[in-house]
Every structure is written in structure tokens, then in C-alpha cells.
């Protein structure tokens, strides 16, 4: 089947000027020579997307994801290579484009729809559906300035997806609104996909990419480094995150020589060298399926002899709430006297990572006896960040994954209700 969207060796370069004067001189007198530096943000990107396929685009901030979407949408022009697309492209690069606070939801929806390339007729035909989908009631005919931000998002998404496009491009617009509306948005995108809309989705949310996309593309430094099934690409991506984190840790340690930092505190009698999360095969990982086996390995150095060393960890959710924490003192009971001038390692077998899906961070502490309050050697906040991905079990919400079973719904008591 012919691709709906085809990119061949696409590249995008921006000009970077040292200052405004250099830009002025080059604009008015280009013959005086080049005063800018060319910065390539995308290079040699080739991609073919079939009808009805949905592709997730993942990568770090600055990897070129948004630029790629802009090139496909047409708001920016590729410096080299070719882009071919067929059908109507709708892009949600930002929700609420063209909104004005003084106008009503209806007026703004009409404006925004036309900005997306819909005709006046299409907009007016879609208006009842927009109103129904947004579910903002009488506010639909009130000026936008009295809306809550959630209502604005509802309105914006409703109009942006009012008419099914041939290609839908979404840039991280999903992480908006309350859970109910998010669910509704996801359902609508899924139904578009089933009706043959090709989707391109930029997201930092692995769950969204996994559940909505058939394929994922990993961009790094403006290049496609992996194009495969979402599972494999996300694993690969997590491996990169792990590598980056290791590099970051080295820099952190270097930085510590010079200055004090808030996320790391302690007297330095013992210091944490490394923190790693391991999967069932003993491989370093930063993304696990819920309920998958996991181990936490902590390496540290002890400068002088310590009478009763304790190693502890604390898992927090993305909002900073404590989810789970323990330490060797409580697990072991007996004090651990350690000799100085040596390196040690401590491993926690977490058993199953019975957490709900989402992002978590781990803080590591080295201290004396049962709590870090007494004598704190090294406390490392956000030592490691990891992601829990959904398992194949039923849908659940929350930060824990309880082993819930049910035999379903059965009739209770005798007879019917009166």
C-alpha cells in the first residue's frame, strides 16, 4: 500500500546569530558574508507511514520531535529532503490556537476550526458535536475568560478533533484535562485510527505510546536511531536514559567537589558511588512492567570505620509522596560494623515491583543505626528515576498493584427488587 506520508532524507537547519546586530547586518548587507552559525536540528530523517498506522515519536527534549511535526504540518519548511503527504492534515501542536478571552466558546471554536483549515460549512456542521464533546454546558456561550483552564482544554481538544482528518499530528497535547476527559480523548483518537486516520504522536508518556501506537520512532540528536514496535523502541529508549543518567551521575560527583548541592547531603564518612535497578535477567533497567521482579543495587565507599552501617531506600511517586521505604537495619536487625577505606555493595531483592503504572524516583541513604536522623553519611535524593509500565493484566489505577481477583458479578439474595 502506498504510504500516506513519506519523508525522504529530511533535514532542518536553523540559523543562530551571535547577536541582533549580526542579524541586521546580514539582512541588509548579505554580501558582507555569513555571520550566522548553522545548527542542524534534524538530519537524514526518512519515514514512511501507511494509512491507518499510528506512529509514536519518542526522544529527549531537544531531540527534534517537535521540529519534525512542524515540518510535516507545514509550519516550518525542511532545509533538505522531501516530504509528501496526502489528504487533510490536522495538527494539534498547541491546544487553543487562535483563542481570545473576550469571545465565547462557540466563537472561539469557530475561529480555531477555521485556523485548522476547516471550511465555514464544516465548522458550523461540527459545532453541535463540539459542544457535546466538550461537556462544558452553558459555558459554551460564555466568554473564554470565565473558563477554568480545564474547560479551555476541553473546548480546544473538541474543536481540534471535530472533523476526522486523514493525518492527525499530536504534540504532547494528551497530558491535559482531568482523567475522565483524557480517557475520552484517547477513545476518540483510537476511533479515528480505526476509521483509517494516520496518527503521529509525540509523547513522553510510554503508556500512551504503547496503547495508541503500532510503531514507534526514537529520535536522538535529530536522527532516527530506532524505528520498530513500541515495546522494543521504548526499551531501547530506557537504555539510553540509563546511560544518560550514568553520565549525569559522573558530572554530579564532579560538581560535588566544588560546590554544595541540595539533593545530596551528609557528612561524607561514607558515600554512594552507584545506584542501579536490575530486571529479572540482572540487566540494568529504568522501565519495568508492573509486578515484574526487580533488584536494587547500591555501591558505596566507606572512608573511616563505622560501627553500625545502615543502607536504606525510599521510593516516591512523581508527586513526591512516599510509596515505600525500608533499610538494612529493619530488614536485618543486627548492626553492620564496616572497616574504613573500602568499597561495599548492598542489594535489595524487591521481589515483585507491585506498583501501579507511572514514574517513580528512589532516594538512597547511608546512615548509622535505624534512622538517618542520628548520623547521616550520605542522602541522595532522586538517585534514580524509573518507569512502571502496564502489565498484561486488567486495567487498574493508583500507585500500587494489589493482587485482586474476582469471580465476577453474581446474584445476591432471592427475588427481584420491589
Amino acid at each position: 500500500m502506498n504510504p500516506v506520508l513519506e519523508l525522504r532524507n529530511v533535514g532542518k537547519a536553523y540559523r543562530r546569530y551571535p547577536n541582533a546586530r549580526a542579524r541586521l547586518i546580514e539582512t541588509v548587507a548579505p554580501w558582507l558574508g555569513k555571520r550566522h552559525e548553522t545548527v542542524w536540528v534534524l538530519r537524514n530523517v526518512s519515514l514512511a507511514v501507511r494509512r491507518g498506522e499510528s506512529v509514536g515519536i519518542v526522544g529527549h527534549n531537544g531531540a527534534g520531535k517537535s521540529t519534525l511535526l512542524k515540518l510535516i504540518t507545514g509550519t516550518a519548511k525542511a532545509t533538505e529532503g522531501s516530504i509528501q503527504a496526502s489528504g487533510r492534515i490536522a495538527a494539534i501542536l498547541e491546544l487553543g490556537m487562535g483563542f481570545h478571552p473576550e469571545f465565547t466558546g462557540r466563537q472561539n471554536a469557530s475561529m480555531s476550526g477555521q485556523l485548522l483549515g476547516l471550511s465555514i460549512k464544516e465548522v458550523s456542521e461540527a459545532m453541535p458535536a463540539v459542544e457535546a464533546f466538550a461537556e462544558i454546558g452553558a459555558y459554551f456561550d460564555q466568554p473564554l475568560r470565565v473558563y477554568s483552564s480545564g474547560m479551555q482544554v476541553r473546548l480546544a481538544f473538541s474543536i481540534a478533533t471535530a472533523v476526522r482528518p486523514d493525518v492527525l499530528i499530536v504534540d504532547e497535547a494528551l497530558a491535559v484535562g482531568d482523567a475522565y476527559f483524557q480517557h475520552k480523548c484517547t477513545a476518540r483518537m483510537r476511533s479515528f485510527r480505526d476509521q483509517g486516520t494516520t496518527m503521529l504522536l509525540v509523547s513522553h508518556d510510554p503508556t500512551a505510546v504503547k496503547s495508541l501506537c503500532d510503531r514507534a520512532v526514537l529520535l536522538d540528536h535529530g536522527r532516527v536511531i530506532k524505528d520498530d514496535a513500541p515495546d522494543r523502541v521504548l526499551d531501547y529508549y530506557n537504555a539510553i536514559i540509563a546511560r544518560r543518567e550514568a553520565e549525569y551521575r559522573i558530572r554530579e560527583v564532579e560538581a560535588r567537589e566544588g560546590s554544595s548541592r541540595s539533593i545530596r547531603s551528609g557528612d561524607g564518612l561514607a558515600t554512594i558511588d552507584s545506584v542501579d535497578l536490575l530486571d529479572a535477567n540482572g540487566q540494568s533497567t529504568r522501565a519495568l512492567r508492573s509486578n515484574a521482579p526487580a533488584r536494587l543495587r547500591i555501591g558505596f565507599a566507606v572512608r573511616s570505620p563505622l560501627p553500625s552501617m545502615t543502607v536504606g531506600f525510599l521510593i516516591r511517586d512523581r508527586l513526591g509522596n512516599d510509596v515505600f521505604g525500608t533499610n538494612t537495619h529493619h530488614l536485618h536487625g543486627a548492626p553492620h560494623p564496616l572497616e574504613g577505606g573500602r568499597r561495599f555493595e548492598c542489594e535489595f531483592d524487591i521481589g515483585r515491583m507491585s506498583l501501579g503504572t507511572g514514574s517513580y524516583s528512589i532516594a538512597i541513604a547511608l546512615h548509622q543505626s535505624d534512622s538517618h536522623v542520628a548520623s547521616n553519611h550520605d542522602w541522595w535524593e532522586h538517585a534514580l528515576v524509573f518507569e512502571v509500565l502496564p502489565d498484561d493484566e486488567a486495567y487498574r489505577v493508583g500507585v500500587v498493584n494489589l493482587p485482586v481477583r474476582s469471580a465476577g458479578i453474581v446474584v445476591a439474595g432471592e427475588g427481584a427488587l420491589r
Binding site: 541582533a20 509550519t75 516550518a76 475561529m111 465548522v123
Partner: protein
């Protein structure tokens, strides 16, 4: 380009309407304020200025003469300034839209010109009513103002597109234009008749494309005579050059504009 503009006509129309509505939103008198401004101008020009200045201006007769003279020039100049000033800032003002939404960029100059024309139509409408009420309406010859205004709009649009595009690359353009427009106003025979200035200044008007346009309008409404068409050669040439320069600069840079914002 025209095809794309036609497809987005609804957006252009809605944007123009919005510019107009934004000002009257939330005020009890609403649209009336759009009339009060020009009415105020006419009153100030005829009653106050005319009383103070009349004696010193040769060729301007009765009590309303100077007011009509002023209105002809000031309203036309207002249209010119609005298109140029708004045009210079249009790409920057809508920078976020240009970066995030895919629509024809040429709709921005169109929106600027159309909304300036709406404002001008209201002001000029008030002026026409004033002329009729005071019995000074020149009759059919007033229609000859239409090609003159059209010429002014073309010239202003060309300048606006040219300067607006340059302004994206160097914000100094916008700053300079604001100041230059002030000089230009006083170097154009709007508040003083061309006959009132020394010869060397009058020779200078030969290089000012706005001078013949303003003079033509004053001739229509003050004297009730059709413009001397041959005097409009300079503005026609200037408009053609400005439009060409604007279109070429815009076309050459249209793809880069979003990158530079």
C-alpha cells in the same frame, strides 16, 4: 497563494470581525464608540482648529473649509499609518500562530488591510455625513476618491509587507518606522495647504508619493473638483515599486519567517 487565501476566507473574515469587536466588547455603548472617535475629530478640526487657523490659510474659504481640508488628509493618512504600522508588526504579533498553526501567511497582511479599511470606512462615513449635513458634499465627483484611496491602499500594503518581513529579521525596522512615520506626516501637506509653504519645500513634495494623494483628496472634498490625474503618476509608480518589493521580499522569505520568530 490566492487559492489558499480563498480557502481561508472564513478565517480572514472572522479575524477582521474580531479586531473590530474586541474594542467594543464589554462597553455599554459598544459600536457607538467607533463612531464617536471620528465625530470628535470632525468637531475638533472644524470648530476649534478652523477658528484659530482660518485667517492664515490662503485658499480656504468659509468656517467649515479648513475642517474639511483637515479631515480629507487626516483620515486618509490614518488609513495609511494603520496599514503600515500594523503591517510592520503583524508577523511578530502573530508569531506563535505562525509557528504552531498551518495557514497561509499572506492572510495576515490581508487581515491588516481589511480591518484598517473597516475603520477608515466608519471614519470616512462620518465625514461624508458631515459634508451632506453642512451642504458641502461635492456630488458625483466624490466617487473619484475611490481610485485615489485604492492607490493609497496598494502603496501602504506594499510598504507594510516589505517592512513587516524585514522586521522579522531585525526588530530595528519596527522602531525606525514608528519615528519615520511622524516625520512623514509633517512632510506631507495634511495640516497646511501646499500653497502655504516656501517653494523649496514644495519642490520636496515631488519626492513624496503621499503628497499628491492627499492633495487629490483635498481637491475633491474642499474644492469639489476631480483630481489632476497626471499628478498621481509618482504615487502609481511608488505603489507599483512598493508592492513588487513587498511581494518579492515576502515570497523569498515566507518559509523562513516562522524559523526566525
Amino acid at each position: 497563494m490566492l487559492q489558499a487565501l480563498w480557502r481561508y476566507r472564513g478565517f480572514v473574515a472572522a479575524s477582521v470581525a474580531r479586531e473590530f469587536q474586541v474594542r467594543s466588547r464589554g462597553s455599554a455603548l459598544g459600536f457607538v464608540w467607533n463612531l464617536i472617535g471620528p465625530i470628535g475629530n470632525v468637531v475638533v478640526f472644524t470648530i476649534i482648529f478652523a477658528q484659530v487657523m482660518r485667517a492664515r490659510l490662503p485658499g480656504v474659504g468659509d468656517i467649515f473649509g479648513y475642517g474639511i481640508f483637515l479631515c480629507s488628509g487626516v483620515f486618509a493618512w490614518g488609513l495609511f499609518v494603520e496599514i503600515v504600522q500594523r503591517g510592520v508588526g503583524m508577523f511578530i504579533e502573530h508569531g506563535n500562530l505562525l509557528k504552531k498553526a498551518s495557514f497561509p501567511k499572506s492572510s495576515l497582511p490581508l487581515i491588516v488591510v481589511l480591518s484598517a479599511l473597516v475603520n477608515f470606512a466608519v471614519a470616512f462615513g462620518v465625514f461624508m455625513v458631515f459634508l451632506v449635513v453642512t451642504g458641502r458634499f461635492p456630488g458625483w465627483v466624490a466617487l473619484s476618491a475611490i481610485p485615489v484611496i485604492a492607490l493609497l491602499v496598494v502603496f501602504a500594503t506594499g510598504l507594510a509587507t516589505f517592512l513587516g518581513t524585514l522586521n522579522v529579521y531585525s526588530r530595528d525596522v519596527g522602531q525606525a518606522v514608528t519615528i519615520l512615520m511622524q516625520f512623514w506626516f509633517w512632510l506631507t501637506p495634511i495640516v497646511y495647504p501646499i500653497a502655504a509653504v516656501p517653494d523649496f519645500v514644495r519642490d520636496g513634495f515631488a519626492f513624496n508619493p503621499m503628497a499628491p494623494i492627499v492633495v487629490a483628496l483635498q481637491r475633491i472634498f474642499v474644492e469639489g473638483l476631480a483630481p489632476r490625474w497626471e499628478s498621481l503618476v509618482l504615487p502609481i509608480l511608488a505603489a507599483a515599486v512598493a508592492l513588487l518589493a513587498g511581494a518579492m521580499t515576502f515570497r523569498a522569505n515566507a518559509d523562513d519567517i516562522a524559523d526566525e520568530l
